[in-house]
Symmetry: C2
Subunit: 215 residues, 2 copies
Amino acid sequence: MNQNAQVSRIQRGKRTEIRRENERVILDAAERVFAEAGYGGATMQLIADMAGLPKANLHYYFPTKEALYRQVVRNIFEIWLHAADTFDDAPGPVEGIGGYIEAKMEISRRHPFGSKVWASEVMHGAPVIQDYLETTLRDWTVGRMAVIQRWVDEGKMAPVDPRHLLYMLWAMTQHYADFGHQIETLNGGHPLTDAQWREATETVKSVILRGIGVV
Amino acid sequence: MNQNAQVSRIQRGKRTEIRRENERVILDAAERVFAEAGYGGATMQLIADMAGLPKANLHYYFPTKEALYRQVVRNIFEIWLHAADTFDDAPGPVEGIGGYIEAKMEISRRHPFGSKVWASEVMHGAPVIQDYLETTLRDWTVGRMAVIQRWVDEGKMAPVDPRHLLYMLWAMTQHYADFGHQIETLNGGHPLTDAQWREATETVKSVILRGIGVV
DNA sequence: AATTATGTTGACCGAATGGTCAGGTTGTGG
DNA sequence: CCACAACCTGACCATTCGGTCAACATAATT
């Protein structure tokens, strides 16, 4: 019975499980190495070492360095998009934008490597995910801009350009991940504590919400 | 006489002039290539091609790739620091912070490559300019935080955490350089026009200044 | 138990990269 | 005009990198 319980919970064939686990380990290691060294600076050997696997094994699961990188970037992009769920059902800018800031700050904290990979990719001209920018991200942006514009029209917030407001939100929240090293250095070399993260989030929220004329 | 005029204006010895000019050309090309490809992705050959010089000539002026990179980063850092001159003699937050935003937005526009190199360097853990972060930047930051805190104490602005306010300013202004490609893509593939840059600057300024309780 | 499909890995390869160097050219000071 | 110094560069080298492959090990299937 013990065996059955295990099988039904996790093991749907050991093969699939091995594959799932190895892909996860490799992707985690790759995300970190790509973030710390950049695409050009990252080597398959380094990723392999961090994953605890021989290099040839990486090429068994991901045919090329670019394919591996592509998968890492797409994973981040998914997380990134879902942060906007808070936007959709919000009755007004206080909950919508305030919640979005909180969600994105949380992502910066939980996924600093992914955020850096994304930033690096965009900074280098988005060679891999240009199509995503032109389709998914574009649609997403247009949709949220419409929501913000509606709030403006309904007098729920000051008449702020929705596009640049979105850019400001992205910039500030991602800054805490992408420039985390600089922030840490200016914090005496220590990572931000729980309280400091809360402080940062609250400061951003209060300045922005007051800045768009709510509260 | 024509010869004398030229000599007195630019040529203080042709040798020094050649050196100055070549170093400038190399540094410009390097800044661009490092920004677009990252440190690891940049090659001396690529920089040489962009500078229109043979690769061996680069090594004559800059012994190693790292030395060249180091010089590029330091040049950016200098520009970056000078943007805060507006801070010093300002009577209050409207002029001080408003002027700082304008100055940094202008830098993002004029030196997009440099900004990206800086961002890349910090994102990768500042391997080259860590000492600068710990000394120059730290002192700079402490100084400006004091100015902001004084404005708060004098009741000239809302009680906003100076440190996080500075981070917000850096984040938003640099975003327009570092994520310029994303912004351009979302702008239909066209670079921001003069009017759009003004719009961006004004939006950032108005939201922030209102957000810190002035105007 | 035998056969097949999937996973594993050390050894290897061609290409590219950072850097060197010898032998040249050009400017400069005497 | 000469000699020295600064500048220039094609050819070259050692190293490293992404990627391949053959041989092997393990799991699934019949």
